[in-house]
Amino acid sequence: MFEALQRRVQRERGPHMWLRERPTSQRLALLGLVSVTSLVGVLLWRGVWPQLTADASTLGLAVLVLLLGLAMVAALRPVGEKHGGTEGHGLVIAGLLLGSLGAVAIASDGSWGGASGMQCWMLGGFVAAPVFSTILVLDRAPWRGGLFGALAAGLAGTLAAQLVCPSPHLGHLVVGHYGVTLLSIGVLGAIAWGIARYARTR
């Protein structure tokens, strides 16, 4: 059995494996760096710099940043910690989803407006994609990190939309901004699931 293990370990070479084997603190720092770089890049690209004042929308941004951090920690969580089980994971994901919905909606002026979002979806996607890709590279056990990784990527995209887009209409905030998170869970979550299934067969 040790020889079979050795063969599997020998296959774990290359820059991808080197990154994945870094301590969790370093992996989280790298993911944070990619996220911040992506967000700043989008802001520079759109020529926007948010003016933060002490109001509800700033509070919402702070909550989003906090939830994004939690999702990233969950996505890259070390393997040696006890699982919360399916129910525990479900509760955490539900909490993150509800919290982020509240953080987005709090920036509304109360009017519904139009429920459109294509441009903000694309903007959010430009940030979600590199965050998700980085998580895939750094994740040691895809099956565990897949959904949390998709959620973290979606929250990063939603944060980008909140920072760039000035619309205060609730309909747009929910569909266009929060929708990035939901789309990420669906699309990126499916990708992560497929990768995890492939990894288990190797």
Binding site: F2, A4, L5, R8, V9, R20, E21, E81, T86, R140
Partner: protein, 186 residues
């Protein structure tokens, strides 16, 4: 480094430093116990071997997360237990455990006459009927003879919580066995 006299943690530190002999030493030392644990849970030798390999692969990937001064065995056993749970989730079926009934007993559990095969089956079913946390505590402490402190580290709970789980599990087992015995007599 003398592998035979090195502690698990010393072997792990050497392994993290790149000592391939230490990796072999760890495997030789831990794999038999992990295999026994996985076989008991999964009752499938092929799947059990896969769990052991995946455990050591996960250990290899996460070796730089090992903190000097931390205990290795709870960490490794937690990884293995997580993988066993995931195997069950994939199977989506209720697991059964096989018991090594050699007369060991817990002081809080009244002695049963285990010579008869039917009694052994009843005890097995009684344990299988328990909630997961109580079953885990009883299996690891009573059957595998691990101290409560080690059980607590593996399952991620306090020692007192594990003792309470085991105590409640034994009470439920007694009640279950008494009820089952009455049903059989009627």
């Amino acid at each position: 480094m003398d592998l035979s006299s090195a502690t698990d943690e010393e072997l792990m530190s050497a392994y993290v430093g790149g000592d391939a002999r230490a990796h072999r030493g760890l495997f030789d030392r831990l794999a038999p116990t992990l295999l026994h644990l996985a076989r008991r849970q999964l009752r499938d030798p092929v799947e059990a071997e896969d769990v052991v390999q995946r455990t050591f692969l996960a250990l290899h990937r996460a070796r730089h997360d090992f903190r000097p001064g931390a205990k290795l065995r709870p960490w490794v056993f937690t990884i293995a237990m997580n993988l066993v749970r995931d195997a069950f989730r994939r199977r989506k079926r209720q697991r059964e455990t096989t018991l090594d009934l050699d007369g060991r007993r817990d002081p809080s559990f009244e002695p049963m006459h285990l010579e008869r095969k039917q009694d052994a089956m009843l005890v097995r079913r009684a344990i299988a009927s328990l909630p997961e946390d109580q079953r885990q505590a009883i299996e690891m402490h009573w059957i595998e003879e691990r101290p409560f402190a080690e059980v607590a580290e593996v399952v991620g709970a306090s020692v007192s919580a594990v003792k309470v789980r085991a105590h409640r599990g034994y009470k439920k087992m007694r009640l279950w066995l008494e009820t089952e015995g009455q049903l059989r007599r009627t």
